[in-house]
Amino acid sequence: MSTPLAALQRRFLDAMLEEAPFTPEVAPADALDVYRASVAANLRSALASAYPVTQRLVGEAFFAEAARQHLRAVPSASGDLHQLGNGFAAFLEGYEPARALPWLGDVARLEWALHESHFAADALPFDFAALARVPPEMHGDIRFALAPPVRLVRSEWPVLAIWEANQPGRDGTPGRDAGPDFIVVERDDFAPRARCVDRDTWLFLEALARGAALAEAGLAFGDAMEERLADALSQGIASGLVGSFAAPDPGT
């Protein structure tokens, strides 16, 4: 009687991903280690390709051990390796050996935002004609949405400066040594790019990303709302950060 396939496959994955022993025996026995090593190397290399700066900051050996522990807790959940690595930032924040680098989690968060932006849907042209049809008294109720490749990251640390200083060819010395950073990731001619914006603009964009109506999102500018909201919105649309909107239902 052969082992049921479903049970065999679950046990084999335990052997691959959790270094568990495997029965029934396979021939040759040392072949399990060939697969284990290959699986671990593939997964680690996929994670490293999403987090190159994180790896540079901690070194290959440290990264490999962090990757091993993270992947043990959160195994790959897709046959597409480009999906691997969501949640690595949160793991690093709780990772005791990384405590001396308190910004490491936020650097990883920025790298994941860039990674996601790279694979996101292309933005459609903004529908100005439809916007013009919304009656002015309803403008405050419009819910604008960020374009698909846009991501927002904030940090108490100067993570964009750290990230820039650790690009290939740079010596790792950040151009600034203080945060906080309010970062917008966008795609420019297909290449994801990160830049800092002022705090209020970031909070405004973040409110839009949460689905807030324009009047509520504008509260991010506080007392300066009247001067700044219209400009922030028109610049957001012109630069492609704001990609679409849902008009309020005129019946309500």
Binding site: L5, Q9, L13, E25, G79, D80, L81, H118, F119
Partner: protein, 278 residues
Amino acid sequence: MVDDGAGIGLRAPHYRAILEREPALAFLEIHAENFFAEGGQALAWLERFRERYPLSVHGVGLSLGSAEGVEESHLAKLERLVRRFEPALVSEHLSWSAAGGRHANELLPLPFTREALSAAVANIQHVQERLGRPILVENVSTYLRFGDGEMAEHEFVAEVVRRAGCGLLLDVNNIHVNARNHGFDALAYLDAIDAATVGEIHLAGHEAVGARLVDTHGARVAPEVWDLYVAALARLGPRPTLIEWDIDIPELDTLLDEAAIASRHLQSAADMRERSLA
């Protein structure tokens, strides 16, 4: 349609050179998962290649041999890619990589049992229904055998293809690697293959690690594999043939050299067919 000529795997370091030089190739093969994005640069590149070459979409992550079936979310992305780019060929591996929602992202070996055979056949048929077209499945290189096998590898492969109604992507390097690692006769394997089912051939480099051959896709095609390829062409006739190279990717010219060797063998096989028909 793809001519019975040679193609190469399309890898990012060669994008610009291929567009600039437009080398004569029968087709370009992509890894499906490299183009699963909803938008962005990779898909824009692929639009440019499709204007110049027939495409072959080769999946690595569908896990056709999973007892629990293939993941619908993965299949949906494959379907989106295939319907958009209408490739000449679509293929996946006769292996598995996932169970219980966890993925090893590796081409893991199946036991050669009737149960595994049925699971693979059901999954392949499901994929073909979703895509609305037949696919090719590839024999993979393996480094172990499960103790409860009920048939030989070539029987398993041929029977999956026959029952699923799919085609075979015959990887000649993988036959050579497995023949050496598991001690069977590569030519007897070829003899067991139904020529009418073979829609494509793969060639790649392997490396010896100790007593084991490892299918690395990181070297030139070995002389023994070229010999086995010639033997395969004598049995099958010419077939679209891919040069695969996935790690330590060399200059484009190295791949084109390998493709040119395959082309010469394909031409000889075609000439031989013509003479035998004359």
